[in-house]
């Protein structure tokens, strides 16, 4: 029994090291390679809203959607019922909506498909310009839009139809690319 007091520290060290190894093993989760299903969205967000602000703290763009998701390796974010609002000095400049859409954050490009409608909020005294088409590409950085599909442009009672168009929103320039039909209503 006399030797026990001298052995006790050694026993203690031995027990502590066993305990440490045990804890280390338990806490070191086996880094099982979590297998991501490439065919399923990595994440999904319901009732999504994202707003971008300018240097003065005023909203510059707002993107809302009923549902937003992204696939594991995809660069684009996908939307259901996307609704884009672009502002200028805090005032609504134009809106774009569609049934489905995609957005690439690095290029600032957005694609809207099926029942797409762009509404350009006009200055006071002028009618809004409303553009209906089935597919639209919007460059948020340059505020330009384009489509190769059939398009109908409304302003007041005047209506224009064409196949394919480009729209430079800042310059207020709409180019109708082919098969143009327009009906100007007299004021």
């Amino acid at each position: 029994m006399k030797r026990f007091p001298r052995l006790f520290p050694l026993l203690l060290v031995l027990m502590l090291s066993v305990l440490t190894m045990l804890l280390d093993r338990v806490t070191r989760q086996s880094s099982v390679q979590s297998v991501i299903d490439r065919d399923q969205p990595e994440y999904t967000v319901e009732d999504f809203t994202a707003t971008r602000f300018d240097a003065q703290g005023l909203p510059s763009d707002r993107l809302q959607a009923r549902r937003m998701w992204q696939f594991p390796d995809a660069k684009d974010i996908e939307f259901e019922h996307p609704f884009l609002t672009s502002y200028q000095q805090g005032r609504i400049n134009y809106t774009v909506e569609g049934e489905v859409g995609r957005y690439n954050n690095s290029t600032g490009m957005a694609w809207f498909d099926r029942k797409v409608q762009l509404i350009d909020k006009a200055e006071p005294g002028k009618g809004d310009v409303k553009i209906d088409t089935r597919a639209l590409t919007v460059n948020l950085n340059t505020s330009t839009a384009q489509s190769p599909a059939a398009v109908t442009v409304y302003q007041g009672d005047s209506v224009a139809n064409a196949i394919g168009f480009t729209y430079a929103q800042k310059q207020g320039l709409i180019s109708l690319l082919s098969k143009v039909r327009i009906s100007y209503a007299q004021p």
Binding site: A162, S175, L176, V180, R181, I182, S183
Partner: protein
Amino acid sequence: EIADSSKPIELSADRGTLDQNNGVTVWDGSVVVNQGTLQLKADHVVVTRNANGQQTLLATGKPATFRQKVEGKNEYIDGKGNRIDYDSQSGIAVLTGNAFVKRGQDSVAGNVITYNTQTELYQVSGSNPQTTGAAKGRVTVILQPKTEEKK
């Protein structure tokens, strides 16, 4: 016809550009403009809308042509020129360059013809040597004698 100027303008073309900020639209390629009985055909048309919404139209072609029904008669006025300027408010069309207007059997030709679509009167002038450099232009007017029953 007089009612034409109150009718909407229907336009078709191969392509077009709408400049909303300045109220100017430019149309190219087989451009056809209809307003009531007035029809204009050209290669290139520029429509300018002023502040209170009135439109002026500039058409060029090889040539640009227009046609309009005479008020109350089954008769048409046909005109053509290298360029046609039309003001929808005043109803005045100015044909410039090889201008020619024909109404029934009567016709008139010259460098510039001013035709009032509401009063159906037209005024023709020959070429101006300073502007065209050509010899002093002549005006040609052909008025067919009215036969007995037409008087």
